[in-house]
């Protein structure tokens, strides 16, 4: 996915992807968000998730490392934070071209459900979506019969490499912090 350059409107470090979605929704972003995990232990250094938005509502999802789009990209994107978040505004015309990629599309509420597990944010997002998008089905990269949130969760749980990365990172962090906090002797 080649990203057109636009106007950077927001750049900061966020703890979870939910904040990125909420930031895009609150400012009714038309453009895209790039999420770059900060602690990329065992993950490729250039792993990034990209979501496009039309007036704050997610349209496409894509992951640079796995080259997957649509709902599978959301599963790829779900790694522990923090992330560097950049929101980039684009003109409608540029975005309309980009959005003509059915395989990458995600239904409006799906990113909030799957990345943040946040039903309220998903409901707010669906409420802001145009009527014809509310019942949109996921893009072509998805299994056609993969409607449930749980299937993304299951895909996540089947990704042993990613889970090991999360665990390894947590162990590392636990050890480092133990010495910061004077708990050295607790460590096994």
């Amino acid at each position: 996915m080649k990203l057109p350059s636009g106007r950077l409107v927001h750049s900061r470090v966020v703890d979870d992807p939910g904040s990125a979605l909420a930031a895009a929704l609150d400012r009714e972003l038309t453009g895209y968000a790039v999420l770059e995990p900060q602690e990329t232990l065992l993950l490729a250094a250039d792993a990034r998730g990209v979501l496009t938005f039309s007036e704050g509502v997610p349209v496409l999802a894509y992951h640079t490392e796995t080259d997957r789009g649509g709902p599978p990209a959301l599963a790829d994107l779900a790694v522990p934070g923090p992330y560097r978040l950049e929101l980039v505004a684009l003109s409608d015309a540029v975005l309309t071209d980009l959005h003509d990629t059915p395989a990458l599309r995600v239904p409006p509420g799906m990113p909030a459900e799957r990345l943040a597990g946040d039903h309220d944010l998903a409901a707010r997002t669906r409420a802001s979506a145009p009527d014809d998008r509310v019942r949109e089905s996921p893009g072509g990269d998805a299994d056609s019969d993969e409607p449930a949130q749980e299937s993304a969760v299951e895909a996540f749980l089947e990704d042993e490499g990613k889970i090991e990365a999360i665990r390894e990172q947590a162990r590392e962090e636990a050890r480092e912090r133990a010495s910061e906090w004077g708990l050295d002797d607790v460590c096994e």
Partner: protein, 256 residues
């Protein structure tokens, strides 16, 4: 004999406090149970247990020359409940290390201690419940962020010599789908899936009514799920005489 469990999730709002009180009440059928609000920065167990207007809380105990622990223990719902205050000043004045002594003192006279734990792993006071506990009950939701935070909690716990007692899937909206998620997550989490608790209006109403779920709606499906969790939790007894020492020196875990 005593075993201390941290009820933890690493993520906010998963239902740690709800689960702590529900498990506590269910375990109280068989054991002498003490529940401690160890979420000293964002305490809210007191609101779940109708204790929001009490005088003495854990905050008053966790200071130099503070109140004796006994003053912050309330007999409620068949358990001993130690609530924590909600003021920022109280949190700032509290010395987290003193939680060790609190647990050590209470351990002398109870069978099971449940530590309601904070939604973060970002500070010493936040991880202390996990450090002090013998085992952790990980509260999960069937979502990617909740699972990934649950994995982190478990790794922290294991790094600090605390085992996993089991997991609870809370706020489950689709009971069929959660089965396969629970199945797959068993590869990564130690211990049994103690319960899958449905998303339940009764749980929300109980919180509003200031009562634990098992007191407010004992017949609710969610309440029954927690009773099942209590049945599946194999409480282990510690060595009776050195219990207090164990917690006082909890920095050095016992050989297991």
């Amino acid at each position: 004999m005593v075993e201390a469990f941290a009820v933890a999730s690493g993520k906010g709002g998963t239902g740690k406090t709800t689960s702590t009180l529900a498990l506590g009440m269910a375990l109280a059928e068989e054991y002498d149970v003490t529940v401690i609000d160890a979420d000293t920065g964002m305490a809210n167990l007191l609101f779940h247990a109708g204790l929001s207007s009490v005088d003495t809380t854990l905050h008053d105990v966790l200071v130099e020359g503070g109140a004796p622990v006994e003053d912050a223990v309330y007999d409620r719902f068949g358990m001993s409940v130690v609530p924590c205050g909600t003021s920022l000043a109280g949190f700032e004045a509290a010395e987290p290390e003193r939680l060790r002594d609190v647990v050590a003192t209470l351990a002398v006279d109870t069978d099971v201690i449940l530590l309601d734990s904070p939604a973060t792993l970002g500070s010493k006071s936040a991880v202390l419940p996990i450090v002090l506990a013998d085992r952790v009950v990980v509260v999960l939701q069937p979502t990617i962020p909740a699972l990934s935070d649950g994995l982190k909690v478990q790794e922290y716990a294991h790094s600090y010599g605390t085992e996993t007692a089991g997991t609870i899937f809370n706020k489950v909206t689709d009971p069929d789908d959660v089965q396969s998620v629970a199945e797959k997550s068993r590869r990564y989490f130690d211990g049994p899936t103690l319960a899958t608790v449905p998303d339940s209006d009764a749980a929300r109403e109980a919180r509003r009514a200031g009562k634990p779920l098992l007191a407010y709606a004992p017949a609710a499906e969610a309440a029954e799920a927690y009773r099942g969790a209590a049945r599946d939790l194999d409480v282990r007894s510690g060595a009776a005489d050195d219990v207090a020492d164990r917690f006082r020196s909890a920095v050095i875990p016992e050989p297991r």
